[in-house]
């Protein structure tokens, strides 16, 4: 790597030259601490800083960032703020440079995020290697410090009265014009300084087999201890340079029509992070949330994003935690007293890249073509995209979902309940329980909503070919399975015996009742119905009892059969157990999971279960793949 020298006496002139072309940000003092802030002159720069309150992540993944402005329920009025001109970050530590490389995978891989991308492309990074360890850092555990070897345009190392300046990019090369080349002695001094620093770093996590260790210790007394300590204030995640989670909400002005849709940093440490409509919280316990953070940093992130470190050892979480909760200490405590080792298969979600032509955040307009009431609170809407070309090009697999939005109210993930064989429209069957779904319930035929999608992995209709199919649905869980029924119906000769088991709370809670006769007429198909209770005065000629009571009636046997199920988690849990007891294997069982699938594009983090992003890795999963996830699914 090319290297030059910058005498400290010339730093002022160097920075002044940079300021002519860039808006320069760097570490500046704030009281007793440091922050990244605007740099007026080299004197402001505190290159001797230990760490900053927030990481330089804030210049790329902004704490609050407008995705777009709107005027009316579907009219996008303008894009969010993009960077104007070039910015330059001066004095970024190796840990933070490496953290950005990790974040790149989140924001640039699946559905590249236009805002992050623009900021990344328009930012020059001049890093500073660490010649003195910071108080709480443990970067050397993850090879993310004290020196950096990639991710910068220039990297400085303090060797006394001058800096050795390494060039990391063509852009960096332009910036060193006029500097003298580093001598052999300068490079020796650089290596010596960095080696000395490395030796002084005493805080270490043994990163070898960390994933296996943690997965074996999902249950460990340490978590209970931490639960008592932790204040659940979310500071650890707020200051973390690799945390990427955010929430998206619509804000309107008092016209109630115009407004903006910003994203705001959010945190898995918050109780409401995994809250969905009807006030259900997927991760209510503090111990579970602490585990989510620590596991995400130390193992899930690597599983999710091709071996990128989710922790760069910057030590901010330790420095800012009121209770000094410390990943180094947590890992050491577990290593000291581990559960007996057992073989752990770490699940690696499949990687994919989708490059949409437009911003992945901008929905397409879709017109409501028909509305059909299914039950008291559930309705099937038939949509078609307003732009015929978009509708024509729109294809989807059975079991996937769209994000439906009404600007000013918000966005909600809803599975598609029609089959892609119908080309001119698609259906969503929606229960009115939250802001968006309640607003939808007020709309009429001809009204327009915003839709983006389809997202996710659907039912294994290809794998099911040539096999018998058992379909078990509960309540509104029939909606994402209806496409399977339609799909098989249209290709009946490609599938073996087909059994549909459907249960609901009462006869009045059953969906698609008008289609039952048609389904019964599909050759080699049996439909069994059951309800939990029959209210007085309601006629019911079928089974009474939970859906698993139908198992005794069904003809399906494990041999050559694929089972697909969707419904409340508790129902799926007993369905899976019942089928396993009847000899089905986890390889034959497919379930559709639900979480708060807020963005749909593997960015906002709300839908994570262990290393899984339900929105992109699911919502349909083979049971064998998820049965050992650290958070108990079923």
């Amino acid at each position: 790597m090319e290297a030059f020298v910058l005498p400290k006496a010339e730093l002022g002139g160097f920075v002044a030259k940079l300021k002519a072309n860039y808006e320069v940000f760097g570490p500046v003092a704030k009281g007793t601490e440091f922050v990244f802030g605007a740099v007026a002159a080299a004197e402001d720069l505190r290159l001797d800083y230990d760490t900053t309150i927030l990481p330089p992540k804030k210049y790329f993944h902004r704490p609050v960032e407008t995705l777009f402005t709107f005027n009316g329920p579907v009219e996008i009025a303008g894009e969010g703020e993009k960077v104007a001109g070039k910015q330059l970050l001066f004095g970024v530590h190796p840990c933070d440079v490496n953290a950005l490389l990790s974040l790149d995978k989140v924001f640039l891989n699946t559905y590249p995020d236009p805002y992050y991308k623009a900021r990344r492309e328009n930012t020059v990074i001049i890093g500073v290697n660490c010649v003195a360890p910071c108080e709480n850092g443990f970067c050397s555990s993850f090879n993310t410090g004290p020196a950096m070897d990639t991710g910068f345009d220039l990297a400085l190392t303090d060797i006394g009265d001058k800096y050795v300046v390494e060039v990391g990019s063509a852009q960096g090369k332009d910036l060193v014009a006029g500097l003298a080349a580093a001598s052999e002695a300068d490079l020796v001094a650089r290596n010596k300084a960095l080696r000395a620093c490395q030796q002084k770093i005493t805080r270490q996590i043994d990163a070898e087999n960390l994933g296996e260790l943690l997965h074996q210790n999902v249950e460990h007394p340490k978590w209970e201890e931490l639960k008592e300590e932790c204040l659940a204030c979310g500071t650890c995640t707020t200051v973390c340079p690799t945390c990427f989670c955010f929430g998206v909400k619509d804000y309107v002005d008092l016209s109630l029509k115009a407004g903006e849709r910003p994203r705001t940093w959010d945190s898995c440490m918050f109780y409401e992070f995994s809250r969905v409509a009807l006030d259900h919280v997927f991760r209510p316990g503090r111990a579970a949330r602490i585990k989510q953070r620590i596991f995400h940093k130390l193992t899930y992130f690597n599983q999710q994003f091709e071996g990128s470190p989710g922790c760069v050892g910057c030590g901010r979480c330790v420095s800012t935690c009121i209770k000094a909760i410390d990943p180094v200490e947590i890992v050491a405590a577990i290593q000291e007293n581990p559960n007996p080792p057992e073989e752990v298969k770490l699940y690696t979600p499949p990687a994919k890249k989708v490059t949409p032509e437009t911003s992945p955040w901008a929905p397409q307009k879709a017109v409501i073509k028909a509305i059909k009431q299914q039950t008291k609170d559930t309705t099937t809407y038939t949509f078609a995209f307003a732009d015929p070309k978009v509708q024509e090009a729109y294809t989807y697999d059975p079991g996937v979902f769209n994000e439906i939005s009404i600007f000013g109210i918000g966005e909600a993930p809803i599975s598609i309940s029609s089959c892609a064989d119908v080309k001119d429209s698609f259906d969503h069957t929606i229960r009115a329980v939250g802001n968006v779904t309640n607003a939808l319930a007020k709309l009429q035929v001809g009204d327009i909503v915003g839709i983006r999608g389809p997202y996710g992995v659907g039912w294994p209709v290809e794998e099911m070919k040539g096999k018998n199919v058992l379909l078990v649905a509960g309540g509104i869980g029939l909606a994402p399975l209806r496409p399977v029924i339609k799909y098989i119906q249209a290709r009946r000769d490609q599938y073996g015996d087909f059994e549909i088991l459907y249960g609901a709370r009462t006869p009045n809670d059953m969906l698609f009742t008008g289609e039952f006769e048609e389904w019964r007429k599909i050759p080699n198909t049996r439909l069994y119905l059951t309800v939990d209770i029959v209210p007085p005065g309601v006629e019911w000629g079928h089974n009474i009892g939970v859906v698993t009571t139908l198992f005794d009636k069904m003809a399906s046997r494990p041999e050559n059969t694929i089972m697909v199920t969707c419904g409340p988690e508790i129902m799926m849990k007993f369905v899976v157990r019942g089928l396993l007891a009847r000899g089905f294997s986890p390889e034959q069982i497919y379930v559709s999971l639900e979480r708060r699938m807020s963005c749909g594009i593997k960015k906002c983090g709300n839908c994570q279960i262990g290393p899984v992003f339900v929105c992109q890795d699911g919502p349909v999963f083979k049971y064998a793949d998820i049965k050992d996830l650290p958070e108990e699914i079923f």
Binding site: C230, L256, Y271
Partner: protein, 255 residues
């Protein structure tokens, strides 16, 4: 559609929250354009009887007579909002709940006790159903506007139920507790104020009440063990604004 009718009522409190409404200059004209302020004694000479679409109640109920009034207000308002710490959690008036019997409190304050009938101070949801809470001493004007907009749209308002620490860190404030050793309650207190006090170098007093899943007992330990606060001081911290809540009660009893 007719503009929604808004009413503002006051019980035992300092009236600061009502004053905050008058301080929303940036939005005042827009708000007045969107709603009809039907009853607001502090601001208007002419006030109209109910029913109202949205009622804002400031203050804690501290007498049987006030309790009857509150119940009537509940009947008259489609949406009832507890406005400010006193109405949400009992606020400052609720300090008396933890300082002896009701009679002892009365004797401490008043000399003429013959027609005095006071009751302990709780948040108004102790007595009636409350549809929304505007927390804080005083309320945050931005949240008030957000609540009005949400009510007009018929959706849940976007309030941040996160800790004050979250908003404080986003402002990159130097931590008053970790770095300066001050007993700041931001870590267990609900945000929404924009970390107002810590940003002005004053520790959070917990006026907005507990954040979701607040671990006040653990913070109380920090106050006592690491900062050396006395048992009484720790108690006072947690009983000052929201001692009626189970979360802060745990903090008060932790050391």
């Amino acid at each position: 559609m007719a503009k929604p009718k808004i009413a503002v009522f006051k019980f035992s409190s300092c009236a600061g929250c009502q004053l905050s409404i008058l301080n929303i200059e940036d939005h005042l004209l827009d708000v007045l354009g969107a709603v009809d302020v039907a009853y607001f004694v502090m601001a208007k000479r002419e006030n109209h009887e109910g029913p109202y679409d949205i009622g804002f109640v400031e203050g804690a109920v501290t007498s049987p007579k006030e309790l009857l009034e509150l119940k009537k207000i509940r009947e008259e308002c489609k949406i009832l909002v507890a406005m400010g710490a006193c109405a949400c959690t009992g606020g400052l008036p609720s300090i008396k709940n933890f300082a002896g019997t009701q009679r002892e409190m009365e004797e401490k304050v008043y000399t003429e006790l013959w027609d005095l009938k006071s009751i302990p101070a709780y948040g108004i949801d102790h007595y009636v159903k409350v549809d929304a809470y505007l927390r804080g001493c005083a309320v945050d004007v931005g949240e008030m506007v957000e609540l009005i907009k949400s009510a007009l749209l018929g959706v849940n308002p976007h309030f941040r139920p996160h800790s004050v620490c979250n908003e404080c860190k986003l402002k990159e404030n130097v931590c008053l507790l970790v770095n300066k050793g001050k007993p700041c309650m931001g870590s267990v207190t609900a945000a929404g104020c924009g970390a107002l006090c810590p940003s002005l170098n004053r520790p959070c007093e917990g006026c907005r009440g507990p954040a979701n899943d607040a671990n006040a007992a653990s913070l109380a330990q920090t106050f006592a063990v690491d900062l050396g606060l006395s048992r009484d001081d720790v108690r006072r911290k947690f009983l000052k604004y929201a001692g009626n809540t189970p979360e802060f009660k745990k903090g008060a009893e932790a050391v």
